[in-house]
Symmetry: C2
């Protein structure tokens, strides 16, 4: 018996027992209007749910660990959803959706999870990576994954400026307040924030790693934008503390472009 | 005085003294019909020459170190051409063409060379890199730069199979004979051929490095295709010597796809 009724346009919900599924997903966010499904837009979540529905023959409601913005990438996004338990075959489902989603989206793992598992609310922390190419000339192979800054950056100052971010703070200076929840708390706990350097023939490839219990909207990109201004000498490293205390969006630097950002890992 | 005559469609050749120019170029070959300019095709050479002509206001005849095929990339392609010596400013020319060529092509360096310098005939050796992702799941960020092989490869056998390639041989088994020169020599001297392994979360990222005085058409991709068959256990490592001696295109394995290949460096 198939639960999919093509004549009706929308497949019927599974009527039998369900299994909660957990999947780890990588995607190149170029050309997608972000993760969150939106009508008449090509989104990562919409595309992923569509492939799962085709393979499962029933509707799928996705929950994700971090709703990435348009152009933002993921290496270790985590999603959860319910599937009909009858005939559930995780390996076959993964193979089948990966064929539909290639090459921009890849389900890296997929398995049955505990019944209460929720990709968003069960998450303990999220880790993001932001890549900056600091070089006189752009790199065609990093065009869609690194922010190219053609002036020399003072890495020592950028590293000093990371320290005030650690710990629990109100990140109002670095966050866009959600319109539908103007009173939502912007307090977040940053567990790690540091710059690593990778070799690059024509300059230096800077990787900003930041881990927090959760992030508010545009938080990583606002922080990176401010840290790069420190690297350019426009803002002093010591000013980070006062920018953070100001609790004012105007105090921080510009928002770094989305394509350098990647949701790297989620911890449960 | 400008030498460019837009009314006539084609700019006039420079009439004054010339300077021989040498440039190092990186490009993402995705979407290009190879390097060599061809009528009504988007080629790397045609695009690059077009940008140089716009900036220099005179026609440009490009010579390159290695004519890469459709879909093949370069990190250190070298080109040479003549420019009008009057007002020649290498830094400004590089900046100006890079603005026109971004993001898929980048001129990494550009400078005046000795008058007799020729990107093709002055080259002593070429070094290519071929990337294979050996993993159960594809990687969206390597979709256009690595050949994804979803079965486990025996790296030890692939390394053993490299040894017979070293030195001077007739590479007829690994080369497409040029139609216009059916009697051309296919003897080449391989200076280095080895596999390196980079870390990858979901498998192993294999880099095949090969350096030779010169390469005949499809030589690297035919060698990689054969080495991967060795890695899959379809061909024994010891067979490489007899494949090489056969002097017959049919003796070797399939040609590896173009997108894993990158012209890495040219030595003069």
């Amino acid at each position: 018996m198939t639960l999919f009724e093509p004549e009706l346009g929308t497949p019927a919900a599974p009527s039998g027992p369900l299994v909660r599924v957990r999947a780890k997903v990588a995607y190149d966010g170029t050309g997608y209007a972000g993760f969150a499904p939106q009508p008449r837009q090509k989104t990562v979540g919409g595309t992923l749910a569509g492939a799962l529905e085709k393979a499962l023959h029933h509707p799928v409601e996705l929950t994700c660990a971090g709703r990435t913005d348009a152009g933002v990438h993921a290496w270790g996004q985590v999603v959860s959803f319910d599937a009909a338990a009858d005939g559930f075959d995780p390996k076959r489902l993964q193979r089948s959706v990966n064929k539909m989603l290639a090459p921009s989206i890849a389900v890296r793992s997929l398995e049955a999870a505990a019944p209460g598992f929720d990709a968003r609310f069960s998450a303990v922390s999220r880790r993001y990576r932001y890549t900056v190419l600091d070089a006189a000339v752009a790199d065609p192979f990093l065009a869609s994954t690194a922010w190219w800054v053609d002036k020399p950056l003072d890495l020592r100052a950028m590293r000093l400026a990371c320290d005030p971010l650690l710990g629990e703070h109100d990140f109002a200076s670095f966050c866009r307040v959600p319109k539908d929840k103007p009173d939502a708390s912007l307090v977040r706990r940053v567990l790690d924030a540091r710059w690593e350097v990778d070799e690059h023939d024509d300059g230096q490839l800077l990787r900003f790693w930041i881990e927090a219990n959760a992030f508010c909207h545009q938080m990583v990109r606002s922080i990176v934008g401010t840290l790069v201004e420190v690297g350019l000498g426009k803002t002093r490293a010591g000013e980070l503390t006062s920018i953070l205390r100001a609790g004012d969006r105007a105090a921080a630097g510009k928002v770094a472009p989305p394509h350098g950002l990647c949701l790297w890992e989620v911890t449960y």
